[in-house]
Symmetry: C2
Subunit: 213 residues, 2 copies
Amino acid sequence: MELETRYEAEPGSVRPGGRTARVRAAVLRAAEDVLAEQGFAHLDLADVARRAAVGKTTVYRRWGTVANLVADLLADMAEQSVPRTETGSLLGDLTANARLVQRTLTDPRQVALFKAVIAAATWDTRTAQALRRFYDIRVNEWAPCVQQAIDRTEIPPDTDPREVIRAVSAPLYYRLLISGEVLDQAAADRAAAAAVAGARAGVYRRDGDRGSA
Amino acid sequence: MELETRYEAEPGSVRPGGRTARVRAAVLRAAEDVLAEQGFAHLDLADVARRAAVGKTTVYRRWGTVANLVADLLADMAEQSVPRTETGSLLGDLTANARLVQRTLTDPRQVALFKAVIAAATWDTRTAQALRRFYDIRVNEWAPCVQQAIDRTEIPPDTDPREVIRAVSAPLYYRLLISGEVLDQAAADRAAAAAVAGARAGVYRRDGDRGSA
């Protein structure tokens, strides 16, 4: 019945899913606009439908709640995230990653969006889960560069790749959300260098956790 | 006139400032309660006055706005923050710092308070400034342990002490706000070890910033 509704609205649609994909893109774009301009508290399905020029019923049927809409927005952002750069060294790869995070967090539209979602995640469990899934996908995208560094014997074999990737992002988010210091390329390069130094020193070894437990 | 109002309400007050200090303590405690239980959006001066059993006029005259009240709450928290531990080694000192941050961010009342204030800081400039001042005071309290490590020649002489202290906190706040991973003592110890590894490798040298600029 849901499929029928989607297709009957635009019978001339070239391929199945074409209209569905366009509706999703328009709705997510409108949701991004509201989040970036006004914040999570102003996100409202009827308003998003109006901005996206999509039927309110369609939006309510497909997403149902603001939390679902934000979760889908984050899933879409994760799908579209840039594939990782391969430079041949751990420092080079992590610097590329850090600069990507730094550019995202200094883009006016994206930073407004991230701030709104991170703030909402502090009080809304569904949004917190969606945020974690988003970062899980990004961490999984970049973790192989740490495994390659292990294979090149740059860092200890029992290093936890995901923990190294998270270590690159942490100081950049700290600047954004807590200390308010400038988020420039030097900060990105320092974050990457710190993660490499920690990895070389064995700080991110899985054994480290077990040993101190 | 303000002084008159404060003192005339309780003429038997032993020392000047006694009532003022008690009023402040009661109001800040009530503000903490609202933030921890309901979040920043529910903070209202009249409600805080009622909870604190303090005259509404006093609260409006002294604090005026919710932003001022939150700024004063953060100033009070900074005044009361625990003095740093001195262990004789950089790893020992930073581990003590990391565990203090970790305990704060896992205390149910304090974590609710911090999340509410950090979320509000994403959209409210005054709260963001107050939050930065709070962390400035905490960073200043702990930075001397890095200077002592420089004096002991544990780390390069041009290391930026404040940057090292921030590096200890960053992964813990990242877990709290972004990745949602468990914030246990092992995470604290790893954050301290990573900051030490970075400092030893020269990542937090002031020259590093200048060199890459």
